[in-house]
Symmetry: C2
Subunit: 336 residues, 2 copies
């Protein structure tokens, strides 16, 4: 298995990306090859600094970089020697089995669609993000921003692909699927959610019905299905609110000698809670619905986040999640 | 000024509603009349129990009650002697200046539209909710569930009405208005948010542009504009996540003798944070865009929440918020 890492994407590229690769090299099995794509000289230097060698981590040269400010489709088309374009072509041509990048979400999506290609029957590939649930295993939120506007069939597909990922990569047995809605009764919601409810209900998935966002922290379902606009609002609100509460707590704790002592006594517990809101623990977000394994990492990923994503990519490829999605979609289409 | 309270709506009716009325009677000026509408015998008894008298709080008889399970429009039309229908008619006929209810949101909206009526030029009245911001004054979130599907002009109207309420009821000077979107750049989002951006930008309001939900806890704007589906997701997620974190903290605190001591030292600070997530502190949510003052209270409102809402209703009526909205919408229409 060959995992290809975009050495140029994200706020901390190339150094922390390369560091993460070296870290992962010590953790994943020998037969998993790790490769880096990007500016050769920069990557070589970073690799040396991180204590790695080109014998254990191969460098694939790519002279261009796509930035966050560029129009994604245009950038992917024009910058043919960018790390993202080169990486996606290697993925398409079977020279790599998974491509991981902390670069521009738009460019990664565009590259996935234009170069790697959609799975037949999947109208809209989706960005699925692990969603922290305090005191529980995380859920998977699909879509979190790839498709701001959706049709009911897209939401059904999100549920299907999310279930497969949850089962085969995060080891969740018979994952339950919930649809984000403004009420729990079946007739609730917009035209989109009403129709999506019907499709999910008939899909053969372990569909538990509508869920209100109030319930998301009660671990009500493994896969949370929603359109990309709402999903984006949910993930960012959770991040913003979680971090703000922790910051506020920290301030409280330093308010006086009395509270400082309180904080000291609670240190371990608070650290545990903070970890649950830390995206770094969960690794990257898969682009589900394209023919090969593509994982988008958080823009501010550090070495730990990169290492975690590489570890996540192993079962993704090993269990052939993309192949299972292809097969299940075919079965669904045949049934219809 | 006459404030009419639905004695039959909500989980705690009639007792805690009546208790809240008695509590408010001691707090609001003498010339503010407080009235209760509902089943006469029940209200009379509750009033007596709460230590109030019919001399200070008048009871308006209404023999029927609309429940949360009933189809709202139908219920309002059929149950002509329900507390909501009677209350809305008194409001329409000038026998009351504000109507407050903790009953079915749907029925309150339906009654507002069918009996009290929309302000000319406002296509969709909206439910605006005070949004807690940790360590800051709250924002106002509009819409929070009255209109799951919106057109761009609706969102512009939400911004306008929210600004007026914020200025005249919550004393916010030149309130800033932000549009919930999946990115901050002007071209971002769905067809709806792109168009709404333009309308808000031309509206003459203090529009600060798109806001991501990640920023809502940074007190970036006074009025947060969004469609009712997203607004509903935001308010319920905030409530769910906030309460879950506080519950988790409490558990941490009771984990051991050490942490129990920590909790004791931090008691005041934690209570302060909890208060910020407590809807009871903020009072009811106004239905903006109807001809008279209607305030929807949380279904589980207790006496404090009721009392706070009555207090909020006073400046709402005194500053003639409905009249200002009517006037401003006319000005906007004339300009167009």
């Amino acid at each position: 298995m060959r995992i290809l890492l975009d050495g140029m994407g994200g706020d901390n590229a190339p150094n922390l990306i390369v560091e993460g690769a070296v870290m992962a090299r010590r953790e994943v099995p020998e037969d998993v090859e790790i490769m880096l794509v990007g500016k050769e000289d920069l990557l070589r230097e970073a690799l040396k600094e991180a204590g790695g060698s080109e014998e254990e981590i191969r460098i694939i040269p790519a002279s261009e970089v796509i930035t966050n400010d560029e129009a994604p489709v245009r950038a992917v088309r024009r910058k043919k020697d960018s790390s993202i374009a080169v990486g996606m072509r290697m993925l398409r041509d079977g020279e790599a089995d998974a491509f991981l990048s902390a670069g521009s979400t738009g460019a990664i999506l565009a590259g996935s669609l234009l170069i790697v290609g959609r799975i037949r029957g999947i109208d809209r590939p989706t960005l699925a993000t692990v969603y922290p649930v305090i005191g529980h295993q995380p859920s998977l939120l699909v879509d979190t921003g790839a498709n701001a506007e959706c049709r009911p069939g897209n939401l059904r597909d999100f549920g299907l692909m999310g279930s497969i990922y949850m089962e085969h990569v995060l080891n969740r047995d018979n994952p339950s699927v919930g649809l984000v809605n403004n009420g729990t009764e079946p007739g609730k919601g917009t035209e989109l959610t009403k129709e999506a409810y019907k499709l999910l209900d008939e899909s053969g998935l372990n569909f538990i019905g509508n869920v209100e966002t109030r319930e998301l922290q009660n671990a009500v379902c493994d896969v949370i299905v929603t359109d990309g606009f709402t999903g984006n609002a949910i993930i960012k609100l959770t991040e913003g609110l979680g971090l703000m509460m922790l910051r506020e707590l920290k301030q409280m704790f330093t308010a006086s000698g009395k509270t400082k002592l309180g904080a000291l006594l609670m240190k371990d517990q608070l650290r545990g809670m903070k970890r649950q809101f830390d995206y770094k623990e969960y690794g990257g977000a898969p682009i589900l619905g394209v023919k090969k394994a593509v994982l988008k990492m958080h823009g501010s990923s550090d070495a730990t986040a990169v290492c975690q994503t590489i570890r996540k990519a192993v079962p993704y490829v090993e269990h052939d999640v993309c192949g299972i999605i292809e097969h299940e979609v075919e079965a669904l289409t045949d049934k219809a």
